[in-house]
């Protein structure tokens, strides 16, 4: 298959050997599971259980609220001990509502929805509904509700369902292992999703530094038509959906548009596997594979852990820390976020947990910009990082917006190559957050204006009605008075 070039990008050391040859191992049930109500983009779920309730494995414990949301399920059977605020696996360390479950050790399934016997003959809507009720969200990290993404076929003419197995982040090997060990499940899930989307072709893109995964997937795909497995160049950020789409189709996604606008929908390999489980067995998304790695981890592993496991329990299962970590990262080293502590739960979007030593973190003090222009050369989005950063430094967010800061995908390539160690991507993350906050502010003041105008109109109407009633009463009393005078006159 012909591949197309993608601009920019970097070639970091991959350092995947720590965990790439370790088969997926299941984590023994931890003592407690902490299931946050918001693990996805969109509205948080609404808790359906209270402290003291007993739950079965796979039971819905929180329901989706609104159009973009996802329900949460009990990862094992046990007793709900609390529904309370617990620190979220988020760089802010802020607390969020979380359901705490104490496993009873039985691991007994609750009543699950019936498997869809022949998904390819089923109505696409039935598959989308099943994906929605199974709480499946994008497992590559962004955690966008998958059912909403499966609906894109209704508004867009789709050509390709692209399954993203690029896994371009250093250290992470969870998708690699899922493809090697569960290739059939991934292919089946992908075919079900393509049926729901109405996409005629399936392409599975895997970076060519994963030859075993490519071999396993090619073997599994050989039996079915319309599925192609493609080895894509090893070039960070190939796993970004826009860049993978460009490499496969040669089409660039326009700014502020979706890949669906150019006929492609991208889903992660682990998401495809979760769809397979939901449709074929009725099992909701209650566990995921996580890479635990980094120089400070005693035995790096790929662990299949229930959602809600404390990261502390994961690290203990991997032999604990062998040295003091400089950085604890949620996700990969390029785009991952710092972990506030180890006492936060694994969520549906957690692909990796890294404990990096000082040598790996390789932090340096920031120097002045030497105008080398390397960041412009490597920016995979064709932006000018140095220029955007200077606007942002001077608080000129509008200027940065005009030259496209909102098209930045936060891949971090610019920060990686900067010889002066300027934290360029931090500036863009700040600017994107601040611009979103400004937008919220603006919408709020627009709403205040609408409401106060509506009130003024209402008050005027009420006053008008009062005046009219008063006038009517006056007219009536005048006419009664006139009538009575006339009567008086008549009687006289």
């Amino acid at each position: 298959m012909k591949l197309f070039p993608v601009r920019g990008g970097i070639h970091p050391e991959y350092r995947k050997e720590g965990s790439s040859e370790k088969a997926i191992v299941a984590l023994p049930l931890p003592r407690a599971l902490y299931i946050p109500l918001q693990q996805h983009i969109g509205a948080p779920a609404e808790a359906l259980v209270a402290a003291g309730d007993t739950v079965g494995k796979g039971q819905v414990i929180a329901r989706a609220q609104g159009a973009v949301s996802a329900p949460q399920h009990a990862p094992t059977s046990g007793r709900v001990t609390a529904v309370t605020e617990i620190a979220a696996p988020h760089p802010s360390g802020l607390a969020q509502m979380t359901i705490v479950i104490e496993p009873d050790g039985q691991d007994a399934w609750a009543d699950l929805p019936a498997p869809i016997a022949d998904p390819f003959a089923a109505d696409p809507q039935a598959i989308k509904d099943r994906v929605a009720q199974s709480g499946i969200v994008g497992m590559g990290g962004a955690a966008f509700p998958s059912a909403v993404k499966l609906n894109l076929g209704t508004q867009h003419e789709l050509e390709i369902l692209l399954i993203n197995g690029a896994e371009c982040e250093p250290y992470l090997t969870c998708d690699d292992r899922v493809m090697r060990e569960h290739a059939d499940e991934v292919i089946d899930g992908a075919r079900i999703m393509a049926h729901a989307l109405g996409a005629p072709r399936i392409v599975i893109g895997i970076e060519s530094n994963k030859p075993q995964a490519i071999a396993a997937m090619t073997r599994a795909a050989a039996a079915v038509a319309n599925v192609e497995v493609v080895g894509v160049p090893v070039q960070y950020p190939m796993g970004s959906e826009r860049h993978l789409t460009q490499a496969i189709t040669g089409r660039e996604t326009p700014a502020r548009k979706l890949t669906a606008d150019i006929g492609v929908v991208v889903h992660n390999v682990a998401t495809a596997r979760a769809v397979h489980h939901a449709v074929r067995f009725g099992r909701p998304l209650i566990s995921r594979v996580i890479t635990v790695s980094g120089g400070a981890i005693a035995e790096p592993k790929n662990v299949e852990a229930p959602i809600g496991t404390l990261i502390f329990d994961l690290v203990v299962f991997c032999g604990g820390l062998k040295s003091e970590p400089k950085r604890l990262v949620n996700g990969g080293p390029m785009m991952g976020q710092p972990l506030p502590s180890l006492e936060v739960p694994v969520v549906k979007g957690t692909s990796g947990v890294l404990a990096l030593t000082a040598a790996e973190a390789n932090e340096h003090p920031t120097g002045p910009c030497i105008r080398c222009g390397t960041c412009i050369t490597i920016c995979p989005c064709g932006l000018s990082p140095v220029e955007m950063a200077s606007y942002i430094r001077k608080d000129n967010l509008d200027g940065a917006q005009k030259i496209g800061v909102q098209d930045c995908v936060s891949c971090g390539s610019c920060s990686y190559v900067c010889p002066s160690h300027i934290p360029l991507v931090h500036f863009f993350n700040y600017a994107k957050g601040a611009l979103a906050a400004q937008d919220r502010e603006r919408r709020r003041s627009d709403r205040v204006k609408t409401l106060s105008e509506a009130r003024t109109i209402r008050l005027e109407k009420a006053a008008e009605a009062k005046r009219a009633a008063m006038a009517a009463r006056k007219a009536q009393s005048a006419s009664t008075a006139a009538a009575s005078t006339a009567d008086d006159k008549a009687s006289a």
């Binding site: 300027i422 957050g433 509506a454």
Partner: protein, 177 residues
């Protein structure tokens, strides 16, 4: 020569006269800048800026007699928009620390007098006579009018909390060049 000078003079006087009359007849009562500025303000007439309402504040702004930072419910976004329109640079440092607020009614103290409901410019308070009132937090824009009018001091202002939904990264340190 004389005819040319004469005719141009006559034309000049006549056209000048027409312009002069038109300027008087078609005189615009309102300053268009004032109207535009008023459009940018929240329009809740809360009076926190020190003026009677939004239109008076807009008039003062148009004459550069009032600071752009005076609108409390509008917050930083409105102050920035005003400064941009007026072409001035405003000191927004005060707004950096100012967190938006919303009103909360203490149900034990509320006597159901309806005063706050009548005063609320965005209809954010629900309740009935002799019934406990409550504020719809998402609608309240923190103008503090109800806080001032409550006869039993049952209303207090709370800061809008930072949540996972509105948190964002801070600007990287000032020591960077």
């Amino acid at each position: 020569m004389l005819i040319a000078v004469g005719s141009l003079t006559v034309m000049g006087v006549a056209l000048g006269g027409i312009l002069g009359v038109a300027a008087r007849l078609l005189h615009v009562e309102e300053d268009p800048l004032e109207v535009e500025l008023q459009g940018m303000l929240p329009g809740s007439q809360c009076g926190q800026c020190g003026f009677v309402g939004c239109s008076q504040y807009a008039a003062a702004l148009a004459k550069h007699e009032a600071p752009v930072t005076a609108c409390a419910p509008g917050g930083k976004a409105v102050a920035e928009a005003l400064a941009k329109r007026l072409g001035i640079s405003a000191d927004l440092s005060e707004h950096e620390d100012q967190v938006p607020e919303y009103a909360v009614i203490d149900e034990d103290l509320c006597i159901g007098c309806m005063r706050c409901i009548q005063d609320c410019s965005v209809d954010a308070i629900v309740g009935a006579n002799k019934q406990v009132h409550t504020v719809i937090a998402e609608v309240c824009h923190g103008c503090t009018k109800c806080f001032a009018i409550c006869p039993t001091e049952a209303i207090h202002m709370c800061k809008v909390p930072v949540t996972l939904g509105n948190w964002h990264w801070a600007k990287p340190g000032a020591e960077l060049h």
